[in-house]
């Protein structure tokens, strides 16, 4: 039986990819970010931890979907997905290889579970999907596992509610667990944390909100899922709304307690605060990493 063993969160900002491609990953600015990700990279390489398939939750940033088609929840069921040309030419990364059997199985299960999914068979994937892969796996010739892209609309209002995202995660868990093949499945929630990319308020970062969000995501996701959109907007910036996608990941780990094997938070990565977590259901959780919690940048610099 397939099972959701792990939830991971990651930033997906394009500047992270640019830092690697231009050889800046070790400089003063980007060094702490990549240093913070290194323990996750080392962890995920171990055979027991390496997923067979990642259900990668992200938002399409007006790449596969323009203003003509705006699906709230979509799922990529194709054999493969090409990196999108977002104006710079496509990112120089391998094609994302799908798992059509599992993807179609999840799509069918979700629809039967009252989530009316949009099914995608021809879809380019943008930085929202490929940056987290780069952050975890570096620059391989081929990605080391299969990926099912699951884009969520958080661009055109209204995005789905936190409660709906949390419930979708629960349905993804049930769908995975009813797939007969023995697969280690990860669900990744990407984007965030606090950031605003527009208007005179651009550059907003709210460390207290972000750290509380991480804490609630781990310990009280049910309450967190009730947070209204306006609170994300006021507290975490207009693009901080991406954080609702983390609730899909959390829902897929079940209602029981989870353990944070690793908990990394950094300010800033370009315009954003960045959070990278490894979470596992407590019952089946592995050893926590050492150090387990890393806070860097911004006002942590002096700490």
């Amino acid at each position: 039986m397939a099972r959701v063993t792990t939830g991971i969160t990651s930033s997906h900002i394009p500047a992270l990819g640019a830092a690697i491609e231009t050889g800046k990953a070790n400089d003063e600015y980007w060094g702490p970010v990549f240093k913070g990700y290194q323990p996750i990279r080392d962890w995920i390489k171990k055979p027991d931890n390496m997923p067979d398939v990642i259900v990668l939750v992200y938002n399409d940033h007006a790449s596969a979907f323009d203003q003509n088609i705006i699906p709230t929840f979509a799922i990529g069921c194709a054999e493969k997905f090409k990196p999108a040309d977002e104006g710079w030419g496509p990112r120089p990364v391998p094609d994302v290889i799908g798992h059509p059997d599992l993807a179609w199985h999840i799509a069918q299960s979700l629809i039967l579970d009252d989530f009316d999914m949009c099914i995608m068979n021809d879809m380019d994937v943008d930085h929202g999907c490929t940056i987290p892969l780069t952050m975890m796996f570096g620059e391989p010739d081929a990605w080391p596992c299969k990926v099912i892209p699951l884009p969520v609309n958080v661009v055109t209002y209204p995005p789905p509610s936190g409660a709906r995202c949390y419930a979708l995660g629960d349905s993804i868990k049930a769908a995975v667990e009813s797939f007969p093949e023995d697969l280690n499945v990860h669900v990744w929630g990407t984007g965030g944390m606090s950031h605003q990319l527009q208007g005179p308020r651009a550059g907003l970062i709210n460390k207290d909100f972000d750290l509380d969000f991480i804490d609630q995501l781990i310990n009280d996701p049910e309450a967190l899922s009730k947070k209204p959109h306006i609170e994300y907007l006021r507290e975490a910036g207009s693009e901080g709304i991406e954080l609702v996608m983390w609730l899909i990941m959390r829902g897929a780990l079940g209602e029981e307690k989870v353990k944070d094997l690793y908990n990394f938070y950094h300010i800033p990565a370009s315009n954003t605060a960045l959070g990278a977590l490894i979470l596992q259901p407590e019952e089946t959780a592995g050893e926590a990493l050492e150090p387990r919690r890393v806070l860097s940048g911004g006002s942590f610099a002096e700490a």
């Binding site: 900002i13 394009p14 500047a15 640019a18 940033h61 007006a62 790449s63 323009d66 203003q67 003509n68 999108a84 040309d85 977002e86 104006g87 710079w88 030419g89 009252d114 661009v155 055109t156 209002y157 209204p158 949390y166 419930a167 629960d170 606090s194 605003q196 990319l197 527009q198 208007g199 005179p200 308020r201 651009a202 550059g203 907003l204 970062i205 709210n206 460390k207 909100f209 209204p228 959109h229 306006i230 907007l233 006021r234 507290e235 207009s238 693009e239 829902g251 209602e255 300010i267 800033p268 370009s270 315009n271 605060a273 940048g297 911004g298 006002s299």
Partner: protein
């Protein structure tokens, strides 16, 4: 998790709150409608041939789109605040600043009235504080 929703969100209250955030224009349906052609223009820059054509003669390229003269001028001025006023959304407009080989930090910084250096410095020091920036009416 799947019990029925007990309370419906009041759409009018929901949308009114979206307009109560200082220095922020939430990409509501109203803005999406207004900005449809502007955003679709930006999407067209995902193709190299279009980028070349646009950069070679911006005005001529913009004239192919159903845009007001003000919206065209905002694009030619690279005035991202004005483009957002015309219904643009930053993730669509990203195709324009990417065509210019500029970053999200450049575009975001350009909307704040700060110099790029001051904006970068503010981010390094922990970003813009939310204090007093959460609500126009509530002033908190």
């Amino acid at each position: 998790m799947t019990e029925k929703k007990k309370e419906r969100i009041n759409i009018h209250e929901y949308l009114a709150e979206m307009d109560d955030i200082p220095g922020t224009r939430v990409f509501t349906a109203q803005r999406a409608r207004k900005g449809y052609h502007l955003n679709q223009f930006a999407m067209s820059l995902m193709k190299e041939e279009n980028r070349k054509r646009f950069l070679a003669d911006e005005k001529a390229y913009l004239d192919e789109w159903e845009l007001s003269d003000e919206a065209k001028q905002a694009v030619m001025d690279r005035d991202y605040n004005a483009m957002i006023d015309h219904g643009g959304n930053i993730y669509y407009l990203a195709k324009l600043f990417s065509t210019d080989r500029k970053s999200f930090q450049f575009a975001a910084g350009s909307m704040t009235g700060m110099t790029q250096e001051d904006y970068a410095k503010m981010m390094l020091e922990g970003g813009r504080s939310p204090e007093g920036q959460r609500s126009i009416k509530g002033k908190y």
